[in-house]
């Protein structure tokens, strides 16, 4: 137990900060994922064949390729790509991207592919009469999307989004290969310097389990809130 003490003698405070880091990366990645879903869901639902193809290839490729490979692509290729873009604008110095940003972007793109599928499914399962009714009422597209479709879609999407959240949370453990100090990396460091890997990795498992458990509780409350009246 003294291994987990706070302060200089134990690893308690380091692991606590690492847990916060995991939560921060997960939330950032989830938000980036929503951004991607906002772009790609309309593409997937579009009647235009070309746009549809782009939307479909995004979700198929990302969901068919291992997460670790995507992370390696971002880790090794990220700063190169940014420097290339910067060189077009005449900036030729070395740019190093923060591990937090690379990691959240990589996980965000993965999470976005899953969110896109969830949103597409949710929009498709909304009753067609709703679309027609808002057309008959002469609602503007903007109002119709945010006031009619969005609330109904969210209710249907929340249970599946909670799955996406779980996947995202677990995927953040893979960012440890890039050196970002989150739960997995911190356990690796602690296990290396105390020669007690069994304890620290098991403790990491407990941390992840409690994170998934707590988030499930919170999401269940959200679900109850949004399904009022149904």
């Amino acid at each position: 137990m003294e291994l987990l003490a706070f302060g200089k003698t134990g690893w308690g405070d380091e692991l606590f900060i690492a847990t916060l880091m995991t939560i921060a990366v997960s939330i950032t990645a989830m938000l980036i994922g929503f951004l991607f879903a906002l772009i790609f869901t309309p593409l997937k639902l579009s009647k235009n064949k070309f746009l549809n193809f782009i939307g479909n290839s995004y979700t198929t490729v990302i969901r068919g390729v291992p997460e670790l490979l995507v992370i390696y692509l971002f880790f090794f290729g990220g700063s190169g790509a940014v420097m290339y873009v910067a060189s077009i604008f005449g900036y030729n110095e070395y740019i190093e991207i923060n591990a937090f940003i690379t990691g959240s972007c990589a996980i965000g793109i993965i999470s976005g592919a899953y969110s896109t599928e969830v949103f597409r499914g949710a929009i498709q399962s909304i009753d067609k009469g709703q679309f027609e009714a808002s057309q008959v009422l002469g609602l503007k597209r903007f109002v119709y999307f945010f006031r009619v479709i969005m609330p109904q879609m969210l209710r249907l999407a929340i249970p599946n989004l909670s799955n996406v959240w779980q996947i995202t949370l677990k995927d953040t453990s893979l960012i440890s290969v890039t050196g970002l100090v989150e739960i997995m990396r911190q356990s690796y460091i602690a296990a290396g310097s105390t020669r007690d890997p069994l304890f620290f990795y098991s403790f990491a498992a407990v941390l992840y389990l409690s994170l998934t458990f707590l988030s499930m509780k919170l999401i269940n409350r959200l679900e109850i809130k949004y399904s009022r009246g149904f």
Partner: protein, 218 residues
């Protein structure tokens, strides 16, 4: 890009080996725990639930690290015959994958068992078929058919999971891809080649499952 292709292709063999072995063992574990979940004894039931909850609630990376780095720490464990298996990263990875996919498979099979219409079982009973034979000849075949689509997804998830073997020094497809990237600094080309190989395997698995679904549809 062309020179890296044969290297990546030979690494694909390891990926496929890992995938098939872990799916094979995982199916047995999954079936066992699905049956335990249906048991009326509350302790057995809770034990099976706890198993799937823990393995589905923690990242696969943690599970591999506990098995590969963690278990070797126990002195007593190293003197048993099991150590022959657990000192190899290859078998550690397979054990971790099998336990992980077993947890997901048990959930898939459980829900399939629970959605079987009671009429099927009642029909079997009224024909005087012993309950053991009802289980093996009626419930299991229907459950397998029901769970095919979900199991197809699980195979693809496991295929992606095998990439984590590269973290315990195994040179699978992702491991070799990372090695080539870090020596040649051509991340995009290697990503395209390795990614296409993974996508191709996904495509094949998807079509096999589709074919099986059609064959066993009723």
């Amino acid at each position: 890009m062309i020179t890296s292709f044969p290297k990546l292709l030979s690494a694909t063999v390891i990926t496929l080996k890992l995938l098939s072995l872990s799916l094979f063992f995982g199916l047995f574990i999954g079936l066992l725990f699905a049956i335990l979940r249906l048991n009326k004894n509350i302790f057995i039931n809770k034990f099976a639930y706890g198993y799937s909850y823990v393995f589905r609630g923690t990242p696969l990376l943690v599970q591999i690290f506990i098995i590969y780095f963690g278990l070797g720490q126990i002195e007593y464990f190293r003197s048993t015959f099991l150590w022959v298996i657990f000192k190899e990263p290859y078998w550690c990875a397979i054990i971790a994958f099998a336990l992980n996919t077993g947890a997901y498979t048990s959930e898939i099979l459980r829900s399939a068992f629970q959605t079987i219409k009671p009429g099927f079982i009642e029909a079997g009973k009224s024909l005087g078929i012993p309950s053991k034979i009802i289980f093996y000849k009626i419930q299991i075949p229907i459950a397998i058919r029901q769970s095919l689509p979900a199991y197809g997804n699980e195979i693809i998830l496991m295929l992606k999971g095998t990439s984590l073997a590269s973290t315990v020094t195994l040179m699978d497809l992702t491991g070799v891809a990372k090695y080539i990237i870090s020596t040649t600094f051509k991340p995009i080309e290697v990503f395209i080649v390795a990614g296409s190989i993974y996508l191709f395997i996904t495509f094949v698995v998807h079509n096999i499952i589709k074919y099986l679904e059609k064959k066993y549809s009723y």
